[in-house]
């Protein structure tokens, strides 16, 4: 120890007497209490008595009232090297579900995956995601997942099951079948091949819940290969879709949405934009985005393809009953002939797809917009194989059936036959992750890992690989499907080892392997587009199509919802169940979607008065011997003779609490409406409908369909926009121009805005209106424009309304699921919603135009919510954020009332147990698992879980902004544009959301508002001087006429529906 003495001052150094005294009497004041022995005996002074009284009362109150629950946080005994509490780790991985594919990055916090982001390195999905990808992390924590393998409905060990299965496989004379959905994984295919080799005679049958075998077979006939080509919507100038919902559910929607949106990003400098024709029977997400849309009967869809073929080849004018349909086909054919066209069809009919192939061949799409050089592997199932398997099962020719990724008892068109066949198979195995309809009927259930727990890979397109690494060790006693096969085939090691060897073999070195694993992607440098020679028999296909009779009555169409899709585990995902359907905005149920005209006939007329009623008329839909009672949801744009029913509902109780259905909840299973036509499964059927007089509640988030011609949305045709790109600037200036300068200020012209040019107007509106649109001084707007001012912009042209942002936001911001009853009461919590507006004549489905408008907190710089809060719980940050201090909020709801955009959401009930009352957690039987300890592992620790009684709303993902700023600060540099992304922006598959620092002149948001897109820029309700930090870009349709707001054409507006 050092002998050095330190002193505090000269007093101490000299140690004067005065100093000594000071030291001795360091606490010179006596304690405030009289603590002498005589205390109790003495007559305590009154003041002391009051002090004691006060202290003891306060102490007693504190002790009695502050019940502090004991929460245990267990630290790591041995901390893993790469886990730092509070710091997220990211792992590149791959989302697959059947053939659905998305390259993702897993965000893990403290070892738990909490969020998925798109992997921008993928040339296929390019960082885009879908609602399902965003919601898949919740499936990992699904309470309904099986926690151990089952044999005959009882828990069993892997060993016992393996022994029995191995015995059966070796002993049984009858062959084993592996029944799977489409498999993208090359290593899994290898494992299957090894298994098949081990057990000769065994077979691998591939089927898809929603089949594309019509296309596969047509392609085989037309091009000699049973494969799907790669589509390039970004290269197409004319896109014709015959019922293919390629933006929502068809084949690879994320990929196509990315491509599609890049072909539609229009600006005054770049007026090029693809033209999209859609002919369909239902109102799909894709149809809603089309420039020209016509409806046809489902049974007419083949005829439409033929008519298009004839129009392309011979210039024949089609002669359908519908004028609009004829017109659309004629126009489409003319545009297709200009080159760079692309025709896709959602039909599962081989002949129809052959005709479509023929059209694509004639217009030269092969080699330009369709690449036959790179096959898409998304769907590989052949319906006939599946049917043959079921026949074999019933004939007792199947010894062992291993079902993976499929749920035929629920999905197969003839479920009963499958069940009967299953009973005749001695050994049946399912790898379902839950006791789904099939798992309940098989002998062994060996639950597969969730994809976030498993190693794997995918080859979505030939030559394009994507690696899958787990984000967490398996939560339960589950085993990879591949491990099953390897074990039963007697292979040594695990699938993980095999997988590593497989990729080490391909990649050569550990360094390559590490890098590829880190990036998640292994792709060729560039995709070369090549065509293929068409050799299909068109005349035969046309003859076959023409032979199909067109139905006369109603027809039922079975379709997939963007959120739930084919069903599977998605049916039990509360985020997806509560995600409003892009078109109907309905949640939690499926229903009979019918057109307004048909609904009127069924006494369920849609008008401005009854739209608000959650009680919907129930009809009985009969088709092919199947009867179903379904509530009517009226959808403008549906063909008048069509009733559409979504798949994925009507699930068994064991699929999960959210999915469970009965007469009062959970919808109906629409798969029984499907049928096999001898070649492929058909998703439409002639039907009859009748009223039942019953009512059923459907929770719909948006009950008004027309935007009433209000300038909250701006639309132009491409032609109008090209003719006068400044129309919107002029329109805005007409409204607010007067307020951009003070009346007495210099240069102010009398009614002079006509003389000004668009550039000046835009500039004035940008700054002048902020300053002069109010009588109050402006303190926020420092002319220096230094620091950060966050801004967001939604491009209405790019936004396709898919809802990925809604679920992405929900995952990022711990947004509560409220359940059907409260959605019906307009209590939903989504921080971002997509307003969907219809315009046109309700009774004419072909006249309907749809626009999607994402709506979230506008972070107004002059926010109406902020000045009305009595306790300043909502206030403005110096960076332009409208902030919520949850702890300060007392829940007067005044802010929500005064928000012109109605984007503030109140915690009406105790949704998540965050409040301090006992036993008042809201439970409805379906959403309750969200509060299970397991499910809560999905919560983002960076975001407060809001308690009951407080207001919440979009925060621009302030936790991400803060993180980004801190990183920049640590690195000693300014924030780089694009460094922080909001969850919605990141989730968006079409890059419709631009976000950044508006004060940064190099930022995308600044350039977009000031330069590139200033002609399309507008702010919603800017005339009330809320000064929003969220801007919009007007929608430009590549069509003849904008219907919305046109008194002659917009019946929705005139009738206020």
């Amino acid at each position: 120890m050092s002998q050095k003495q330190y002193w505090k001052g000269l007093d101490e150094l000299n140690n004067t007497d005065a100093h000594k005294e000071v030291v001795e009497n360091e606490f010179r004041e006596s304690l405030p209490f009289d603590v002498s022995d005589s205390l109790l005996g003495s007559t305590a002074p009154r003041r002391d008595f009051l002090k004691y009284l006060g202290f003891s009362t306060a102490a007693a109150i504190l002790a009695a009232s502050c019940e502090m629950p004991v929460r245990r946080a267990i630290p790591y005994a041995i901390k893993p090297e790469d886990i730092v509490p509070g710091v997220p780790n990211y792992y590149a991985s791959t989302f697959t579900d059947g053939g659905d594919y998305c390259a993702v990055i897993i965000k893990t916090r403290d070892g738990r995956p909490i969020k998925l982001e798109g992997n921008p390195k993928s040339s296929i999905t390019k960082g885009g995601t879908s609602a399902r990808v965003q919601a898949s992390v919740l499936n990992l924590y699904d309470k309904a997942r099986l926690r151990q393998p089952q044999a005959d409905g009882k828990e069993a060990s892997f060993d016992a099951i393996d022994r029995q299965i191995k015995e059966a496989l070796t002993a049984n004379a009858r062959p084993a079948y592996i029944l799977t959905s489409s498999i993208l994984s090359p290593s899994t295919k290898e494992v299957i091949a090894q298994f098949l080799a081990k057990y000769p005679g065994s077979k691998h049958v591939v089927a898809d819940p929603v089949s594309y075998s019509g296309m596969l077979m047509a392609n085989e006939a037309s091009y000699g290969k049973r494969a799907l080509p790669s589509y390039h919507f970004e290269k197409a100038e004319t896109i014709v879709s015959l019922g293919a919902d390629f933006l929502g559910t068809w084949l690879s929607p994320i990929e196509f949405a990315k491509q599609y949106s890049s072909g539609r990003r229009i600006s005054a400098q770049n007026l090029k934009m693809s033209k999209h024709y859609q002919v369909e029977s239902v109102h799909s997400l894709t149809g809603a985005n089309a420039d020209h849309r016509a409806t046809c009967r489902p049974s007419e869809s083949g005829a439409v393809a033929v008519a298009l073929y004839n129009a392309v080849v011979n210039g024949t004018v089609p002669s359908f009953g519908s004028k609009k349909l004829n017109e659309v086909i004629t126009k489409a054919a003319a545009d297709l002939k200009k080159g760079n066209g692309l025709v896709v069809s959602g039909s599962n009919d081989v002949s129809v797809q052959t005709v479509v192939n023929a059209i694509n061949d004639k217009i030269g799409a092969n080699g330009t917009t369709i690449n036959w050089g790179v096959a898409s592997n998304y769907k590989q199932g052949i319906d006939a194989d599946m049917v043959a398997l079921v026949e074999a099962m019933n004939a007792g020719q199947v010894g062992t059936l291993i079902i993976h990724g499929l749920n035929p008892v629920y999905e197969y068109h003839d479920s009963k036959k499958f069940v009967d066949g299953l009973a005749k198979v001695p050994v049946t195995v399912s790898t379902a992750d839950r006791m789904d309809e099939t798992a309940q009927k098989v002998k062994f259930v060996i639950p597969d890992h969730h994809f976030l727990e498993n190693w794997g890979d995918a080859e979505p397109k030939t030559g394009f690989f994507s690696l899958q690494q787990p984000g967490i060790a398996p939560l339960f006693k589950t085993r990879a499907f591949q491990d099953n096969l390897m074990t039963w085939a007697g292979a040594t090691g695990t699938y993980a080892d095999f997988w590593k060897q497989y990729w080490m073999g391909k990649l050569g070195s550990q360094a390559n392997f590490d890098q590829t694993l880190q990036e998640g992607i292994l792709e060729p440098a560039a995709e070369t587009i090549s065509g293929a020679a068409f050799s299909g028999n068109v005349s035969d296909a046309i003859a076959k199509v023409s032979a199909n009779k067109v139905a006369t009555g109603m027809e039922v169409v079975v379709y997939q919802k963007v959120a739930i899709g084919h069903g599977g585990a998605w049916s039990n995902n509360p985020w997806l169940l509560e995600m409003p359907d892009p078109i109907t905005k309905a949640t939690w149920d499926n229903y009979a979607a019918v057109s307004p005209l048909r609904a009127k006939e069924l006494h369920a007329e849609l008008n401005g008065q009854n739209e608000v009623d959650a009680k919907k008329h129930v009809i009985k839909v009969k088709a092919g011997g199947v009867e179903m009672e379904l509530p009517i949801v009226v959808v403008p744009g549906m063909h008048n003779d069509v009733v559409a029913v979504a798949l994925g509902f009507g699930r068994d109780a064991k699929v999960g609490r959210a999915a469970a259905s009965d007469a009062t909840k959970g919808g109906k299973n629409a798969y029984p409406f499907t049928s096999f036509n001898g070649q492929t499964v058909m998703y439409t059927a002639p039907a009859t409908v009748e009223e039942t007089g019953k009512l059923y509640d459907i929770a719909i988030t948006q009950t008004h369909h027309s935007y009433e011609g209000r300038p909250v949305v701006h639309e132009f045709t491409a032609e109008e926009f090209a003719k006068n790109p400044n129309a919107l600037i002029e329109e805005r200036f007409e409204e607010i121009g007067k307020f951009t300068a003070l009346p007495w200020s210099e240069g102010k012209k009398e009614e002079g805005h006509k003389e000004e040019n668009a550039g000046e107007m835009a500039e004035k509106m940008d700054e002048g209106f902020r300053e002069n649109g109010t009588m109050f001084p402006n303190y926020d707007n420092e002319p220096s424009h230094q620091g950060i001012h966050w801004g967001m912009s939604f491009d209405l042209n790019s936004c396709i309304g898919c809802g990925a942002c809604v679920v992405g936001c929900q995952a990022e911001n711990n947004i509560s699921v409220v359940g059907k009853e409260h959605v019906a009461k307009a209590h939903e919590m989504h921080w971002i919603r997509i307003d969907r507006y219809f315009s046109g004549m309700p009774e004419d489905p072909d006249s309907i135009q749809t626009v999607f408008q994402p709506m979230t907190c506008q972070h107004c710089d002059n926010a109406p919510c902020e000045n009305v809060c009595p306790v300043s719980a909502t206030n403005h940050s110096s960076e332009g954020l409208n902030q919520m201090a949850y702890n300060r909020c007392i829940g007067t709801k005044y802010c929500a009332n005064n928000c012109p955009y109605k984007v503030r959401h109140f915690n009406w009930m105790d949704w998540n147990g965050a409040d301090c009352f006992d036993d008042n957690l809201y439970e409805d039987g379906r959403r309750d698992d969200m509060n299970d300890d397991l499910t809560r592992m999905v919560l983002n620790p960076d975001v407060t879980v809001r308690s009951r009684g407080v207001m919440e709303k979009c925060s621009f993902c302030v936790q991400r902004l803060q993180d980004g700023k801190l990183n920049a600060k640590k690195a000693g540099r300014p924030l780089i544009d694009g460094e922080v992304k909001t969850a919605c922006q990141q989730a968006c598959p079409t890059d419709a959301i631009t976000f950044g620092n508006y004060y940064d002149k190099e930022s995308a948001i600044y350039k977009l508002r000031q330069k590139d897109q200033k002609e399309r820029l507008f702010y919603v309700l800017e005339q009330i001087h809320t000064l929003p930090n969220v801007s919009y870009l007007a929608k430009v349709r590549n069509t003849d006429e904008i219907v919305a707001g046109n008194e002659k054409l917009d019946g929705m507006m005139n009738e206020h529906i």
């Binding site: 009305v868 009595p870 829940g891 308690s947 207001m951």
Partner: protein, 478 residues
């Protein structure tokens, strides 16, 4: 002889042959007797309603505001509708006591006590709604500007809701003081007549040792005037500030400068209607027809027809302004009020508030007790709808059509409202039983000038010639 002469054109304010003693007897004896059957039945029902209300509020506080029907778009429903309605009702009392006192309206004496009581109870009822409409009522004290360790963090003085806190609490305090100061001499009267020890003691405490000296009276009068002076601006300010809750917003249908006068007129309108409802019942049950005369009823009906017409003009002005403004959102808001899914509430309001009070132009109907009673209830139904129309039908279809919604109340909301009726009538029944429902001292003050029997004595004077009268007066004191 001191003579206070009042013209015969004015009808008497107290009917019948009354002496001071008789007045005391009439008003105090119900307090001393056991209450009648009707009182017990009424009190029982009030308590039941109150309990149901307490249960409804408990349910809401425990499980959350989500048990109500209000939603994302319509953040205020029955809660604030009822708040404004009750506050409005609470206007008549102070108007009668303060403004009419300052204007020396003698007829106020018969009704002011009950009206003031009604004010206080109504404000108590009103206060429940802003308190329990809060999502986190246990943190409600955040609205109070108290020194704290959070910064200190102050409430937001820009918020009209905060002004409400001050306006309502000030109004309640001043009304309570005013009412109580008027009660002191009357409590002393009861004390002096008391035959049981407990009554003597309690009323003795309540009367603050009033002895009825000249100094007592002088101070009492001075205090009354001061309080009247203080409350007069309050009558106007309270509802003005309540209207600011809406007027300072940006919502079409709310954002309008007409609201303060329109709200005050409406408040007086509904307040007088409520006074009518109560007094017609009280005078019947407690047999006070001679103190609350047809003249009183008619006077109040005149106020009702006046304020009802003002309100009607305000409604039409709103429509005109919506059209004249040229603002499409404003126009649409009124279109949806009149023709939207809530059309019935608008037309209920129009019928009850504007059309029906016009019957009071007819004198016969003004003086018809059953008709007045029915009308008083109709008016308050209409005024309830007015608030509902302003609040709900402005919110439900505002700027962005995508967020338009609808709203229906649920049982806890209705229960809460019924509960405030329970609270109101429980208080009122207790008041009617234990408090002098008519200001004894003030009645006595006007008795000799405006009492029927005293006025009759003046008949003699009326017949005298002027000279004779002057002569008599000159020599009266000699």
């Amino acid at each position: 002889m001191h003579l206070k002469y009042e013209s015969f054109v004015r009808e008497p304010l107290v009917d019948g042959d009354k002496t001071y003693r008789q007045v005391t007897e009439d008003i105090v004896s119900p307090i001393e007797k056991k209450p009648g059957r009707m009182w017990y039945i009424g009190f029982f029902f009030s308590i039941c309603l109150l309990c149901f209300g307490v249960f409804s509020v408990f349910w809401e506080v425990y499980f959350g505001i989500g048990v109500w029907g209000i939603n994302r778009t319509i953040g205020w429903g029955w809660d604030i509708t009822n708040f404004v309605w009750w506050v409005g009702i609470g206007h008549a009392g102070t108007l009668i006591s303060a403004i009419l006192l300052l204007f020396r309206q003698g007829w106020r004496t018969g009704v002011n006590r009950a009206a003031e009581a009604m004010t206080i109870f109504a404000v108590m009822c009103a206060g429940q709604f802003p308190i329990f409409h809060m999502g986190r009522v246990w943190d409600g004290f955040f609205v109070l500007p108290y020194p704290n360790t959070r910064g200190p963090l102050w409430p937001n003085f820009n918020s009209a809701l905060l002004w409400d806190v001050f306006a309502i609490s000030t109004y309640f305090t001043v009304s309570l003081l005013f009412w109580y100061s008027g009660l002191i001499p009357d409590f002393a009267t009861i004390r002096d007549r008391a035959k049981t020890k407990l009554r003597k003691r309690l009323y003795g405490l309540a009367s603050f040792g009033w002895t009825g000296t000249a100094k007592n009276w002088q101070r009492h009068e001075a205090l009354s005037l001061v309080l009247a002076g203080v409350s007069t601006p309050l009558v106007l300010s309270v509802h003005t500030i309540v209207s600011f809750d809406f007027a300072t917003s940006v919502i079409p249908g709310w954002h309008t400068t007409i609201f303060p006068p329109y709200f005050v007129a409406g408040a007086i309108f509904s307040g007088f209607a409520m006074v009518q409802t109560l007094l017609i019942l009280v005078r019947k049950i407690l047999h006070l027809e001679e103190y609350v005369t047809l003249g009183h009823i008619e006077a109040m009906n005149k106020v009702i027809v006046l304020t009802g017409s003002i309100v009607g003009v305000a409604y039409l002005t709103e429509l005109f302004m919506a059209w004249y403004s040229g603002v499409q959102y404003e126009q649409a808001a009124f279109q949806w009020r009149i023709m939207g899914p809530y059309w019935w509430s608008y037309w209920a309001m129009m019928t009850c508030n504007v059309v029906s009070p016009q019957f009071f132009w007819i004198k016969k109907l003004r003086r018809n007790v059953p008709f007045t009673f029915i009308m008083s209830i109709v008016v308050n139904i209409g005024m309830w709808f007015e608030r509902f129309v302003i609040i709900v039908t402005s919110l439900y279809r505002d700027y962005i059509p995508g967020s338009w919604a609808y709203y229906s109340p649920t049982w806890p909301e209705v229960g809460f409202y019924l509960g405030t009726f329970g609270l109101f009538f429980t208080c009122f029944f207790l008041f009617a039983k234990y408090f002098p429902v008519i200001a004894i001292a003030e009645i006595k003050f006007v008795l000799k000038t405006s009492g029927e029997n005293y006025k009759k004595k003046m008949e003699v004077i009326e017949t005298k010639s002027t000279e004779e009268f002057v002569h008599e007066q000159m020599h009266a004191h000699h």
